[in-house]
């Protein structure tokens, strides 16, 4: 009984897959045989095909009229609002941030190799930094 149900599930899965992908010849042969045997399976195939046509038919061809003009207008506004100085600053900062990240990784690796530890206090030379020391520092 269970085996029969598993078989029917499998055939149904093949049926769906056959509409989107080439089945292996052996599987295709079994599906074709099942389709030839069963009118219910053929009806099921028709229902699936019909539903697929329905889904394919719902696509609207476009957005509201003048869509391209609206996009271009947004692009123009966007371009006008770009400050060249800010953009240059942003790109320079990106380089600094990248270089900083590389430096931290190198220091971490160095620390790991030399001291066998990943102590951030040693990397950033803050091992002796206490609140009192920080307050005292400018007075020295």
């Amino acid at each position: 009984m269970k085996r029969g149900m598993d078989m029917s599930k499998r055939i149904k899965r093949w049926l769906y897959h056959s509409l989107d992908h080439d089945l292996r010849p052996r599987v295709k042969k079994r599906l074709d045989a099942a389709l030839a045997r069963s009118p219910e399976l053929r009806a099921e195939r028709q229902r699936i095909l019909s539903q697929r046509r329905s889904i394919a038919g719902i696509a609207p061809a476009s957005f509201e009229p003048l869509f391209a003009e609206r996009v271009i207008s947004r692009i123009q506004t966007m371009d006008q609002n770009i400050d060249p100085f800010y953009e240059a600053l942003k790109s320079a900062f990106r380089k600094f941030a990248f270089a900083g990240a590389i430096l931290v990784i190198l220091l971490l690796s160095y620390n790991l190799v030399k001291e066998n530890s990943l102590n951030s206090e040693e990397i950033f030379f803050t091992a002796d930094t206490t609140f009192e020391n920080m307050l005292r520092l400018p007075l020295l």
């Binding site: 697929r52 046509r53 889904i55 609207p60 476009s62 391209a68 271009i72 692009i75």
Partner: protein
Amino acid sequence: MHQNEKDLLEEAIEGNREALMKLIRKHEPLVAATVIGMLGPGPEAEDVGQETFIRFYKSLPRFRGDSTLGTYLTRIAINLSLNQIKRRRHVRARFHTDTSDKIDHYPDLDRTIERNEARKLIQNGLQSLEPKFRSVLVLRLIHGFSTSETAGILKLPTGTVLSRLARGQQKLRKILEPLYGKDLNEKGNGHE
């Protein structure tokens, strides 16, 4: 890539707005089908559609043409739609409104189901599916991308696409059948 499209791309990269406009007009149906299929019709879909082309515009200098422009735009549109769905859920959860993605309004069952109405129902049914099923149905069945192209766009194995396609169709049928019977599809597809 089509020579004319290649020329248009080069001109658009050089800053020719007319060429960019032509490219947008050419690919608008493709993006509309993806975004409206994913989000349903409305201002939200229009916004995501515009954003798709703006992202494309920003990435123009880096566009290498590894994939066709259509596939490239579809990938952007799908990703932006999926982000929008996440954002929508987040907003719903935040304001404690009904979080279900299920159809919340059914037209009067006694009315004759016209083709447009059936389309709307299928659209609503599609919207009620989980995004992972919705995206494969939109790409494969609405766009007509092959299974492997769909897999490429969604960065999924082909087997996963196949099983999501099958399960998505079964789920959609379960949603629609109890409401309108098995002949709904025939009414909606224009082949009656």
